[in-house]
Amino acid sequence: MSNIGSYEQRLTGFDWSIAAKELEYHDGESINIGWYCSDRICRKGSADKIALYYQGFGGADKQYSFNDVRLASNTIGSFLQALGLVNEDRICLFMDRVPELYFSFLGILKIGAIVQPLFSAFGDESLFVRLENAQTRAIITQKKHLAKVRKIKDKLPSLEFIIIIDPIETKDLKAREIAFSFENTSPVENLDIFPTKAESPSVLHYTSGTTGQPKGVKHVHYSLLSQYLTAKWVLDLQENDIYWCTADPGWVTGTSYGIIGPWSLGITQCVLDSGFSAQTWYQFIEKYRVTVWYSAPTAIRSLMKAGSEIIRNFDLSSLRHLASVGEPLNSEAVIWSEKNFGKPFHDTFWQTETGCIMITNYPGMKVKPGSMGKPFPGITGVVLDAKTYEPIHEPGRIGLIAFKPGWPSMMRTYWNNEEKYREKFVNGWYISGDKASIDKEGYFWFIGRDDDVINTGGHLVSPFEVESALLEHPAVGESAVVAKPDEINMEVVKAFIALKPGFLPSSDLELEIMNFIRKKLSSVAMPQEIEFVDQLPKTRSGKIMRRLLHAKEWGEEIGDISTLEND
């Protein structure tokens, strides 16, 4: 029996107080995610239960009980307090998926500070704009990523503390750098948990838009209610499950469902910190007897590419429930997983801004391959007419996916950008920026983005950010960045570049520009293809017509080109 039972019955009279009651939370009381994910689980008698199985590259295995997690998060919290860090200070996590990241996440929350997780593959420019925007006071990182931090720290006067969590000689530390070792620090048994309230800020995740710099999505401790209940009903996490969320905590899935959801339920989870290979992933599932697996379409398509034969080498019979997030899950992937694992992947749709799963295929519900599913109970999800912003009632007609605001994990603002935040709401609806249609049975069907943001392997990339970085390369005169279709990643970044006089197109220059972007922004933002052009299509007012280039890549109708300047 699944946790949700009957989806239809859950819709009737749904109220988020269901989650509050299970979490024993009452309006107006303190609510602290760090405490809920560790101390509370220990108090409820699961102190010795394994919270985390960790496997690093090369088979470095570790395991931690909920009590270990409680103590480690207390210890780092206490250390941060001793440095003078206080509630609402922004503290960045810039690490690979190591256990210390998970402990630090909870420790920061416990002292009332705001966690700012950033993807460790970010280049120095990507790191800089996010730390500057948040006026981050401290960053916790690893020695391997220190060079990127050192490169930008002089431009960040607010960044007072650079904390390195692996062994480093004192003589190698530079100004503002401090070494911290979990192993060599006495565990702190009792830490005064900061009495955060429902609306106290908790996590600051950055997301990309079409224009402007990345936006810091501010969440609050009250988000716990959404993350707890969706993890329970959608991912169907149960007492004896071994859960594997493949997402990196640098992105929202890796925190909402890679930390908060499972641990607030007291579920054992496992983390694999290594690169992708089908063999490694299947071995990992077999070794830890994973029961619930939450992954992404790009990974699933990569597994499909590796073939079905390899699956027979492993015992994957422990798998009980599979779900996917990050980009639309194509019907072939659902059918393939049913055939090869004996169960379908259940697509889930949500965003950094929503904080929790919004539309999904539920355990026990008929999965329509290729469909996004139906809104979570308590979530009013519709598609809106793009001109009138009124809900569309006609089945199959495409519109903008929108939600009625008010669920617990809804973002509270964009950091330092209230204006952009307000733009997300029209006619009393939160506008997601994605398009879909709804069929006559109420299932949503994803169509695509309503803007130019590129979704590559589940990562959102801003064309503006890449174009801006490209302009810093000495050879680039102007550029236009668009999505290009890709079999594995759904979309990849493609750049059209007009060179400055004196530079000639060459494959060596192409490589140089690729590496330039990879190091400055990230490998995700690196153009997977560069096309050198003499000039870019522009309107008569001089604006680059990105949509023309996009249409060309996707084999679509070009549409109205009456404003085109250089035909």
């Binding site: 060079a147 290979s277 594995i488 192409e510 690729m514 690196m526």
Partner: protein, 83 residues
């Protein structure tokens, strides 16, 4: 170019371009993709490097994570397309 020179050239390129921690030591057999030293998005730039350096064209169907998973694997792949 000898086999050893080719191996060393690729190894030095990987160290220079992809390894963030200067103290990391890798050999011709060190897994690059499955270890996470080179991620799947970065593989394209490594492919372009190989094609430029050795004046070859490697079909995208052959540029798999397994074929790129160590310097030795890469050299074996490149050798298939060298005249």
């Amino acid at each position: 170019m000898s086999m050893e020179e080719m191996k060393d050239l690729i190894l030095q390129y990987v160290i220079k371009e992809y390894l963030e921690d200067e103290d990391t030591e890798i050999t011709y057999d060190t897994p690059l993709i499955s270890s996470g030293y080179v991620d799947s998005f970065s593989m394209v730039s490594l492919l372009v490097f190989l094609e430029n350096k050795f004046k070859i064209k490697i079909p995208s169907s052959k540029a798999t994570p397994e074929a790129f998973d160590s310097v030795n694997n890469i050299v074996a792949l490149v050798n298939q397309y060298l005249e």
